[in-house]
């Protein structure tokens, strides 16, 4: 696929504590698609998400990140967000005394009660029961993840990075999350799913496989699924890819 990418990553290198956590990554994310980045624990997936978003501990990278064709390397997280990208954390933050409603409205495109009701229903949380609760430790892990997703639906972003949207989520809620994905896509968002679950990968239109901070292969979901199932799941040397890992980006 060679449509115009909404997000482009060029030769991204990120070193932390003397190690290359991201190792010369180049990736293109076509508009209006659901992309998945899959890989084992410690592959660098969350780090990639944080670098794209421009979080303060992840901004000292080499290479370049382009959003809508323009480099965003100099921009802090809030300015990147105002250009239309956002992210849902693997482990979302909790806030004492901040209501679910205020949290959702903090970035909402349309700031109304109606928005809060709609997005909570979309993630399967009853607005009457949840709107007034605090986004604090009294929410379960799965509820907290769903509130995070609701806040993102309210933003109507151009690009959403979702770090492990299925972690801590039961089957019922997972179906809601997949519906929300479809909704985002139908409403013009580009989605970047970060996962090590094949079930999540299968929701994507296009996939990338990462290992040890490197891009191992990219392409159609079926190709990535097969590669992951055959080579990664039985792998006895995670995050030590062979030097001849062969299939690189693009060769579908």
């Amino acid at each position: 696929m060679r449509e115009k990418a909404i997000l482009e990553i060029r030769n991204l290198v990120l070193r932390m504590s003397g190690r290359s956590i991201l190792d010369d990554l180049s990736m293109g994310f076509a508009r209006h698609r659901v992309h998945a980045v899959i890989g084992p624990n410690g592959a660098g997936k969350s780090t990639l998400a944080c670098a794209i978003m421009g979080l303060s501990d992840y901004r000292r990278y080499e290479g370049s990140i382009l959003f809508k064709g323009e480099p965003v390397d100099e921009l802090p997280v809030d300015q990147r967000a105002r250009r239309g990208m956002t992210m849902a954390w693997q482990e979302p933050a909790r806030y004492e005394g901040l209501s679910v409603e205020r949290f959702i409205l903090s970035g909402a495109a349309k700031k109304s009660k109606e928005t809060v009701r709609e997005v909570l229903e979309q993630v399967g949380l009853d607005p009457a029961r949840y709107g007034g609760r605090a986004v604090d430790k009294t929410l379960s892990g799965g509820e907290r993840k769903r509130v995070e997703l609701a806040s993102i639906l309210a933003m109507r972003p151009l690009l959403v990075i979702m770090d492990e949207p299925d972690s801590g989520i039961d089957m019922d809620a997972l179906a809601r999350i997949f519906d929300a994905l479809e909704f985002l896509k139908a409403n013009g968002s580009t989605v970047l799913l970060i996962t090590h679950s094949v079930a999540v990968l299968e929701r994507a239109d296009h996939g990338f496989l990462m290992c040890d901070g490197k891009l191992i292969c990219e392409g159609g979901v079926e190709k990535i699924r097969r590669y992951y199932a055959n080579k990664c799941m039985p792998c006895d040397h995670p995050n030590e890819p062979h030097s001849d890992f062969g299939e690189r980006a693009g060769d579908e």
Binding site: P76, Y95, G97, G107
Partner: protein, 314 residues
């Protein structure tokens, strides 16, 4: 009620952005300086107030088994720039009685004001008392607030108190609460205060869980910026079996502000259990960056986080 008193009451409520209480089922008391301007009671609630040289001395009683359905409104205040207001309160919630009080303390024009509160509170067997104190101060912070309370919770009693400063600068604040908790009683003490400028905040909350299965939570959330200073001393002593307690202290500091917390957890029975949590520092970066990823600036995100921390528990 004289017209003059009526006008004064209106101005007190106006300074906290509210209208006067008029519903006949809501008990209310309004005190300006040492003058009791308004006093309206409901069945089961007794209040006697004497005016002293620089304040009032009041006795509040809820009669046995009486449940006061609607929260009682109390408004203390001083509208001039300077003055002293000393409040002495004796509160007795008799066995099985229940009441909630919303007290507003307003010093909107304060330049040099001293407000003290000296309370003795007894919450009887299986009785409940909820006391929320909200402060509105002036922009110059010229207020010294010294609230002291001694609380006794009898068997099965519940007491919750929340202290909040919602508008204006603190000035100097020196809170000192002490509670003794009997069997199966439940205590929740919370103070939420923000300071700026040259504010000085000192909060001391102490409780002894001396009855079997008594429970207590002491919460202090403070946000200080500029040159403000905060010092928190929370002590929870548990001496009885199955007593459960938690001390929670969160302080956000910005600019040149300084904060210190001294949580003391003292357990003297092997079947008691008390925990504590203290966090002092700048705003948590993940909390901040989550909101910034929603498009808020760092300042807007910080403000929202602090506002949550200082708002009463949802």
């Amino acid at each position: 009620m004289s017209d003059e008193h009526g006008e004064m009451i209106r101005r007190l409520y106006a300074s906290i952005g509210e209208a006067c209480v008029i519903e006949p089922n809501v008990a209310h008391v309004e005190v300006h300086g040492n003058r009791v301007l308004g006093l309206h009671l409901v069945d089961g609630l007794k209040v006697e107030a004497d005016e002293t040289d620089d304040g009032i001395s009041a006795r509040v009683r809820v009669e046995p088994g009486r449940v006061i359905e609607t929260p009682v409104r109390i408004c203390f205040g001083l509208l001039p720039e300077r003055g002293v207001q000393r409040i002495k309160m004796d509160v007795d919630i008799a066995e099985g009685g229940r009441v909630a009080v919303l007290a507003s303390c307003t010093f909107p024009n304060a330049v040099q004001i001293l407000h003290t509160m000296d309370a003795d509170i007894r919450v009887g067997k299986d009785a409940q008392y909820l006391y929320l104190e909200r402060h509105v101060h002036g922009k110059s912070g010229g207020v010294t607030i010294v609230p002291k309370a001694r609380v006794i919770l009898e068997e099965g009693a519940r007491f919750r108190t929340d202290f909040e400063l919602i508008r204006g600068l603190v000035g100097d604040i020196d809170i000192d609460y002490h509670a003794v908790c009997g069997p199966r009683s439940v205590l929740e003490m919370a103070a939420r205060v923000s300071g700026a400028g040259d504010d000085r905040i000192k909060i001391r909350e102490e409780a002894t869980l001396e009855g079997e299965a008594a429970r207590g939570v002491l919460t202090t959330n403070v946000a200080v910026r500029e040159r403000a200073r905060a010092e928190i001393f929370n002590t929870l002593l548990a001496t009885a079996p199955y007593a459960r307690g938690h001390v929670d202290c969160k302080e956000i500091i910005q600019g040149e502000a300084q904060a210190r917390a001294t949580p003391i957890v003292d357990v003297r029975h092997p079947k008691a259990h008390v925990t504590h949590e203290a966090a002092i520092g700048s705003v948590d970066s993940k909390q901040l960056e989550t909101l910034m990823a929603h498009g808020l600036t760092e300042e807007e995100a910080t403000e929202l986080i602090i506002e949550g921390l200082l708002s009463p528990s949802l």
